[in-house]
Symmetry: C2
Subunit: 148 residues, 2 copies
DNA sequence: ACCATATACTTTGATGTTCAAAGTAATCGG
DNA sequence: CCGATTACTTTGAACATCAAAGTATATGGT
């Protein structure tokens, strides 16, 4: 009993570190190495839908707007992000991806897909379903218990 | 098929962010809030066994020794870590936890245990085993595929 | 219409993390 | 015993992050 818990804990911790590590290394070897990992996550949060206000992106990322401002400064300079004032409300700054930003986002999405595809390959039919169900239960639990 | 992959990806990403978040918040509310999350991970890596050389701890954490030096400076000042020169080889610096450091480590371990215990509670009998097996497969795969 | 207040964002100053490269001290091999 | 290696520390630089102060715009109440 206790042992299973330790084992589960161990694998979660290891998996955690591995994912961060792999993502970092993949980024620094790929065609978008000018980006940092957190800039890539900003790009992901902006997404390819409508332009979003700073505050919306910051909230998706769970960082302060001040922190986001700095990241956006850099991403605009690098050509990955458009920044424009809203016409209806001139206080609002709308953020969207440039074509280059969209490319970077696709590239990153492809990396995630690959990682997941490998994962799916090495699991058996039923295992996949149980894994999804378990992860779903866990995330839901954490959400209600700890989030916000 | 494709949908399952997306779902799995989604839950992994969410779980990932949740864990970091929860850990951070739990730390800043607890009795060891003077510590940063990465300092806590240094403490965890030092462990409660024998004193370890800097290089051993750095390798556990996968950071450079220079980075570790800075963290240890701070942890020594805060009273969580002992730093002593080895007698056999005076180049070597041996790191160990003070009683306070051990306390912090236990506190952190308890937090992990709780998180895992909740997870176990909400899973059914067989799900737990499949989850462990799946995570084990995934981490092993990542290890051989990506880890150097 | 006006002003106080609230909102959306940027700037600033501070802390923390991390690395690579240069520096220091001790050991080891021939 | 000297040159090379090893173990660590220091330094300089980039980045991430926050809280608080600052700027510009909008809104609600009178």
């Amino acid at each position: 009993m206790i042992n299973k818990k330790e084992v589960l804990n161990h694998f979660l911790v290891v998996l955690f570190n591995q994912i961060l590590n792999i993502e970092e290394k993949a980024l620094k070897k790929g065609p978008f190495k000018v980006l940092t990992l957190s800039e890539l996550h900003v790009i992901e949060a902006i997404g390819e839908e409508n332009p979003l206000p700073m505050s919306a992106v910051a909230s998706r990322l769970d960082v302060t707007v001040g922190t986001l401002t700095i990241a956006i400064n850099s991403l605009v300079k690098k050509g990955y992000v458009n920044r424009e004032r809203s016409i209806e409300d001139k206080r609002v700054v709308l953020i969207s991806l440039t074509p280059l930003g969209v490319e970077a986002n696709h590239h990153h999405a492809r990396f995630h897909e690959e990682m997941i595809a490998y994962t799916v390959n090495i699991l058996e039919e039923g295992e996949m379903d149980v894994l999804i169900k378990s992860l779903s239960k866990i995330t839901t639990y954490f959400e209600t218990k700890y989030d916000k």
